[in-house]
């Protein structure tokens, strides 16, 4: 418990320092609970998520950093490796490939990389995965782009 808090404080200070370094990630700690974090990440360019800002919710276990944080998309996203309803993310570093060498910040970077490089062979969103696996890249992109506009961009007017 103490160890995880100490580590999270270090990450907190690092995040303050890095803010200007990585403009694509805004990582915010809950004011009253250091085990709860929120991130806003920019959809990577040249993907259907470009122009969108996606909100992630982090829940950090007491065993952190020996155990991984739980991360979910709060913003609706159409992506093969993100559960369409719950926002759960299928990413190995959040499961069995986790190690303390990762930080909340680098997890955000890994999620951005996953957005740019979907893994349709291990889908949490089968519809999205099947579009890609059947070679319908246009279909996948237009669905993903539509949801980016609907859910991840500021409403116009």
């Amino acid at each position: 418990m103490q160890a995880s808090k100490a580590r999270l404080f270090k990450e907190y200070h690092e995040v303050q320092r890095e803010k200007t370094v990585d403009p694509d990630i805004q990582l915010v700690c809950d004011e009253s609970n250091i085990f709860k974090w929120t991130a806003f990440i920019k959809g990577p360019s040249e993907t259907p998520y470009e122009g969108g800002v996606f909100q992630l919710a982090f829940s950090v276990p007491e065993q952190y950093p020996l155990q991984p944080p739980q991360v979910r998309f709060l913003t609706k996203i159409f992506h093969p490796n993100v559960h369409f309803k719950t926002g759960e993310i299928c990413l190995d570093i959040l499961k069995n490939a986790w190690s303390p060498a990762w930080t909340l910040q680098s997890v955000c970077r890994a999620i951005i990389a996953l957005m740019a490089h979907p893994e349709p062979d291990s889908p949490l969103n089968c519809d999205s995965g099947n579009l890609l696996r059947s070679g319908d890249v246009r279909g996948y992109q237009s669905m993903a782009r539509m949801y980016t506009r609907l859910a991840a961009m500021p409403k116009k007017g």
């Binding site: 160890a3 100490a6 580590r7 270090k10 990450e11 690092e14 950093p65 020996l66 155990q67 739980q70 559960h83 309803k85 719950t86 759960e88 299928c90 190995d92 959040l94 499961k95 069995n96 490939a97 986790w98 190690s99 303390p100 060498a101 990762w102 930080t103 062979d121 291990s122 889908p123 949490l124 089968c126 519809d127 995965g129 099947n130 696996r133 059947s134």
Partner: protein, 303 residues
């Protein structure tokens, strides 16, 4: 993760997609987080059966385990019985090599009050720290693990305010907040050594998995619970400059004519950096001896 496997089974049949989707609704409610939670529960249950590091047991307890086992194994245990007095078991949680190494190493320093070894190993620890920095690891990701190991190293030397008893060493080795941190320290050191000597380790890694050196470290060295292989042992032994003897108890027949013998392999770090074997009667015999049975490491105590 469950839904992932199920999907692969009928992934090619596009017409079944809608059917599959509704079928998976139950799986959808049962997310990866639940699976992770279940895994932690199983680990907690296992923890009740055997601590991270067990008590010292007479070697006869090993024979008892194989009472009706293969004759070769029984023969080999007889041979072991002549050379070794005791065994200390560790939990089979994928960290057993690192855990055995940790206990054996700290116990050795404690029993011999081997200040020279503490002084010798510290520069190597600092070299690992520099290596991780060179490799681009942020200090905050590994410094806590380094600090905790160095703290244990200090504690086992007697006559200080922070000194601990042998009993306390056992307690700490069973305390997750210390034991797992030291294991993780060794994982960082191992990973750094492998990545700093990519050319040397690459052929071995290619033989084990089909991944790059960096991937291997990310997937098979750094995550807790990933089992150790020759590559890990070689790297750790080299990085810290600590020789390790591994005794192999398996069913391979080593009949040398005069009866069954038991194989062992000494992992010897690059010469010039060897600890002066205080305590050990002969030089160059590693003071750490581990018993390997396929998939598991325990600690052995020579007679």
């Amino acid at each position: 993760m469950q839904s992932k496997e199920a999907v692969v089974e009928d992934g090619e049949i596009t017409s079944s997609v809608t059917v599959a989707d509704s079928e998976f609704d139950e799986w959808n409610n049962f997310g990866d987080d639940d699976i992770m939670q279940q895994q932690y529960t199983i680990q907690a249950d296992e923890a009740k059966k055997i601590p991270f590091v067990g008590d010292k047991e007479a070697l006869s307890s090993l024979a008892a385990e194989y009472k009706s086992g293969s004759p070769i194994l029984l023969e080999k245990i007889k041979v072991l019985d002549e050379q070794y007095a005791a065994i200390r078991r560790t939990r089979g949680d994928g960290n057993c090599f690192f855990r055995s190494f940790m206990f054996s190493y700290l116990e050795h320093i404690m029993e011999c009050q081997d200040q020279a070894e503490v002084d010798r190993v510290q520069p190597n620890v600092e070299k690992s720290r520099k290596a991780l920095q060179t490799l681009g690891y942020a200090d905050l990701t590994f410094e806590d693990f380094f600090a905790l190991f160095l703290e244990q190293l200090e504690c086992v030397i007697q006559g200080k305010e922070t000194s601990i008893s042998h009993e306390e060493l056992v307690i700490r080795s069973r305390d997750q907040s210390i034991s797992d941190y030291v294991v993780m320290f060794f994982r960082f050191v191992t990973s750094a050594e492998i990545q700093m000597r990519t050319e040397f380790f690459e052929p071995f890694i290619l033989g084990l998995t089909n991944s790059t050196v960096e991937q291997f470290c990310k997937l098979s060295v750094e995550p807790m619970g990933e089992e150790s292989d020759h590559v890990h042992i070689t790297a750790l032994s080299d990085a810290l400059g600590i020789p390790i003897r591994v005794v192999y108890l398996d069913r391979s027949s080593c009949d040398t004519g005069g009866g069954v013998s038991v194989n062992h392999h000494d992992f010897m770090p690059a010469a010039g950096d060897l600890p002066t074997a205080c305590c050990s009667s002969e030089k160059n015999i590693p003071f750490i001896t581990l018993l390997y049975r396929p998939g598991h490491y325990d600690i052995l105590y020579p007679k």
